[in-house]
């Protein structure tokens, strides 16, 4: 009886893993819904398709082991049945479901309790707590509009350094890491159809992006932003709203690391250190695992042992840099051989840093923080 039980459990686990992978398609559908809602372009057809998706998720989420998917999909189905439809309410429900799916995909667990309510940077009263710092010292702004300049200044100048480009073509990732990118889609040189290109630019693939536009009900704009993984805000945008949306976008961006070493003790030591800084950890014990995890999770940084089974470290590094999906992820190589020739070989192959064993785990964490532009 127990072997049947085990076979059943592991088969069910297999179905769950596949379902989790398929949630990526669900997220893509939700992105589309959110884009159309935020731009006030929600049509009955899109709403009906979304309602059908929500209904399916209610049935399958909890069945497959993801109860919060069922819960949040039920809310979405309910708001999609409202008459008249309220796009902002639908958008909020869809974002919640999207966050839940994302959280399950990253951690296998439901999301933590919702974060504290956003802070008003402008109308802050004396007893309001300090606004949380942006994760990264700067904000990239793309616009040619003095009104937008003023808005950004109002909201962010007090605690962030703003780097401004007049058009998408001219925008590049700065040498120091940026926390957020805000683009005005109404400025000449920042057409919605250029957003894909913006996303593909090195260094900008992972940034949270907020797009501002005054074009209501434009299906064309909505279609342009689907698939570029950004959020749209309809003008007029109040400072409070911009501050709240920026905070939310930043809070969603969590640090994660893939740690690849065939030595279990090294893995555990590094895991413990990185966890203290709030990183989400993915452990790999051979080169093949590192590639799989890196492609699946697109971590903020990779720590990679030079000497590993299946595929050795330098080769893995080469593969990571050759793959457009992973090439922007900084890699710290660990090696027991400290020769200069070795190290320069690794640097040429694209390693961001080299650390020689034996190392202090603090050292690895400190280098990672430096590379990612984080305090401490």
């Amino acid at each position: 009886m127990s072997t049947v039980g085990q076979a059943f459990d592991s088969a069910l686990e297999g179905l769950r893993t596949r379902y989790l992978a398929k949630l990526a398609e669900t997220v893509a559908e939700l992105d589309k819904l959110i884009a159309f809602c935020d731009l006030d372009a929600l049509t009955p057809d899109i709403a009906a398709a979304a309602a059908s998706l929500a209904h399916k998720l209610i049935g399958s989420g909890q069945t497959l082991g993801f109860p919060h998917v069922s819960r949040d999909a039920a809310v979405l189905e309910t708001v999609l049945a409202a008459d008249p439809l309220q796009p902002m309410v639908v958008s909020k429900a869809a974002k919640q479901l999207k966050a839940t799916c994302g959280e399950y995909r990253q951690t296998g667990a439901p999301p933590p309790l919702p974060p504290a309510p956003p802070l008003a940077a402008i109308t802050a009263k004396d007893d309001a707590p300090e606004p949380p710092p942006l994760a990264g010292p700067s904000l990239i702004a793309i616009h040619a509009d003095p009104m937008v300049a003023r808005l950004l200044d109002d909201v962010f100048a007090a605690h962030a350094h703003i780097v401004t480009y007049p058009s998408i073509a001219e925008a590049v990732a700065p040498a120091f890491p940026a926390g957020l990118l805000i683009v005005d889609l109404d400025s000449p040189g920042s057409q919605p159809n250029m957003l894909g290109e913006l996303r593909a630019r090195p260094g900008l693939a992972e940034l949270p992006i907020l797009a501002l536009t005054g074009q209501r009900k434009s299906a064309a704009v909505a279609r342009a932003i689907v698939g570029t993984q950004l959020e749209a805000l309809l003008k007029p945008v109040t400072p409070i709203e911009l501050d709240a949306r920026a905070n939310a976008a930043l809070q969603r961006r969590r640090l994660s690391v893939v740690i690849g070493d065939d030595d279990r003790i090294v893995r555990e030591l590094l895991k413990a250190r990185f966890e203290t800084q709030g990183y989400q950890i993915h452990l790999a014990h051979d080169g093949e695992d590192v590639m799989t995890l890196a492609r699946a999770h697109l971590p903020s940084i990779i720590v990679l042992d030079r000497e590993m089974p299946k595929i050795e470290g330098l080769k893995v590094l080469g593969m990571l840099k050759a793959d457009p999906a992973t090439q922007h992820i900084p890699v710290i190589m660990l090696t027991s051989k400290g020769q200069a020739a070795e190290i320069s070989e690794g640097r040429k192959a694209g390693a961001a840093d080299y650390i020689v064993k034996p190392f202090a785990p603090d050292q690895v964490l400190a280098r990672a923080s430096q590379i990612l532009g984080l305090p401490g």
């Binding site: 059943f8 069910l12 179905l15 049935g59 399958s60 909890q62 069945t63 069922s70």
Partner: protein
């Protein structure tokens, strides 16, 4: 008592089909066939007669109740259990009034699906004494 051996599961969602198949085959020991919709189910029933049908309510094209009605119109009296993500009391009695032997709400617990199906089957036999 008539044995429950062969079950047909009609649902347009792959994931649900797979879970149901897994639960009822591995855990329940039944023989399971699946169909993605009402039309396919009717075609299946033209040549094969399962002991029981698990029928999803919300399906594109021909939904669960429409499929059930079509079955009855053809004189197919295979017992039917509806599966649905909408289980308010009024709807459940509606399905039972149509002649379904029961309703399994979605989401369902994979671990207890097989025994739930058995229970509903046993209850249906108790109501309508058939051949020994």
């Amino acid at each position: 008592m008539k044995q429950l051996r062969h079950i047909l599961c009609v649902d347009d969602e792959d994931d649900i089909q797979e879970v149901v198949k897994l639960c009822l085959e591995m855990d329940g020991g039944f023989a399971i066939d699946t169909c993605p919709g009402g039309a396919e189910a009717l075609a299946f029933l033209d040549h094969t007669r399962p002991d029981l049908i698990l029928l999803d309510v919300m399906m594109p094209g021909m939904d669960g109740p429409a499929t059930f009605a079509a079955m009855k119109a053809r004189g197919l009296d295979v017992p039917v259990i509806f599966m649905t993500a909408r289980v308010r009391g009024a709807e459940v009695s509606q399905y039972l009034e149509m002649g379904a032997v029961g309703v399994v709400p979605k989401p369902f617990d994979p671990v207890s699906l097989a025994s739930e199906v058995r229970q509903l089957w046993a209850a249906s036999l108790a109501k309508t004494p058939g051949p020994a």
